[in-house]
Amino acid sequence: MTPGCAPTSETCNGVDDDCDGVVDNDIPPIPCPGGGFRYCVGGRMSDCPTRCAVCVPGGQRVCFISYCTYWGLQTCAADGQSWGYCVERRPVPSACAGVASDKKHSRETEQCCLDNGFCCLDEFDLNGNGDTSEMLGRCGDVLCVQ
């Protein structure tokens, strides 16, 4: 017991509330919804751990829609955690206008997207890895803002 100390229950505040000579001890971690815990550090409870963004906020990728121009754009949300709706883009870039018109919603249209340096949703699994939700081409990739 610390002399002159009036013990109270220990809380996360950077103070030795229970007068045992140790600051902020025995404060249990708080489980987080996405896994991990909040911990008492520096006299405060930490935020829950967060993972990297899945895309660069404001970034865009080409997506393919089965109507109209067969060519659309998705925009990365401001928090970088998700892609927005696939929105029709008109006109299709000239290099792919013919392919999109003839082949419509097709592997060929996606291939044209890749060949012309866009960031493209791999809807037709052109790299054969079984993943049709990934991005291919010239993409900004994941941005870890820390």
Binding site: G14, V22, V23, D24, N25, P29, C32, G34, G35, G36, F37, R38, Y39, C40, V41, G42, G43, R44, M45, S46, D47, C48, P49, T50, R51, C52, V54, C55, V56, D122, N127, N129, D131, E134, M135, L136, C139, G140, D141, V142, L143, C144, V145, Q146
Partner: protein
């Protein structure tokens, strides 16, 4: 005098900065326990930490048992930490050798798989019953870093921090500890301390590294650390902060030294300027 300038420039170029956080590839970053660990407690799960881009789609985790057989198991993934936990269905035997084949995972945006790892460890005599012992962060050194960001392919200014740590121990062995490093003070910390590293412990006596974007790393910056064992029991030490006052990096995109008008004074001043720019390792508590 030219020698002085050349030596200064060389020193600047050779002072390799800490690497900024990589991104994109869903690689396994560390495993707890690490390969070759001993005294791993029985009855505890084992864990691997993957890069933030990793996603887990129930890829099997293979466990080689001491009798030579192999089990294909499904782990539990905590996406926020990138932590894949394997809890063997049968009790882990004391004083036995196990091998875990941590899987290669896909990423949220990348097509190919990242790196997995084969980890062999030896168990100790019993379970982990006591919380770890750790006195937290002890000192902080920092440095300016300018490097190409693989994610955006742009030059980026960052501040690299080395956080010195007190000795850590646990009845499950030091190898079974996970370090949780948090930034406790600095700009952009609106709601509370931010966990910036969760993973295996650095080697004994080595600091933990952190690399922060300039906007979140200039001013009074503090870190705190604690450790947790494989059963999620935590140490003390989180109240102890290691702090430093940092400044914006003085990087410039290019310059030329004009011939000195009076002797080598210009070259000397240039060399001194470079020395200031290249000053490394600022320590503070």
């Amino acid at each position: 005098m030219r020698t002085v300038v050349a030596a200064t420039v060389a020193a600047c170029l050779l002072s390799a900065p800490a690497r900024a956080q990589t991104c994109g590839a869903p690689d396994l970053l560390s495993a707890v326990p690490p390969d070759g660990a001993t005294l791993v407690p029985t009855g505890a799960p084992v864990q691997a930490f993957y890069a933030a881009a990793a996603i887990y789609q129930s890829e099997p985790v293979l466990l080689d048992l001491p009798d030579g057989s192999e089990q294909a198991l499904v782990g539990e993934f905590a996406a926020a930490e990138g932590r894949l936990t394997l809890t063997p269905p049968d009790p882990i035997l004391p004083l036995a050798v196990y091998t875990v084949h941590w899987p290669e995972l896909r990423g949220t945006t990348s097509g190919g798989k990242g790196l997995g790892k084969k980890v062999t460890f030896t168990t100790g005599a019993g379970p982990d019953v006591a919380p770890p012992s750790f006195a937290g962060a002890t000192a902080l050194a920092w440095d300016w870093v300018r490097e190409n960001d693989d994610c955006t392919d742009k030059m980026e200014d960052r501040l690299a921090f080395d956080v010195s740590l007190a000795e850590a121990s646990d009845d499950g062995g030091r190898d079974s500890l996970t370090l949780v490093l948090s930034q406790t003070q600095g700009p952009l910390l609106a709601t509370g301390p931010r966990q910036i590293y969760i993973g295996s412990m650095p080697s004994a006596g080595k600091p933990a590294h952190a690399s922060l974007a300039v906007d979140s790393a200039v001013g009074r910056i503090c870190f705190a650390a604690l450790v947790r064992d494989l059963t999620d029991k935590i140490s003390g030490g989180g109240d102890r902060e290691a702090c430093a006052q940092t400044t914006r990096p003085p990087f410039f995109n290019g310059c030329a030294f004009a011939p000195a008008g009076r002797g080598g004074t210009g070259l000397l001043l240039g060399a001194l300027g470079l020395l200031l720019v290249c000053r490394r390792r600022r320590h503070a508590r």
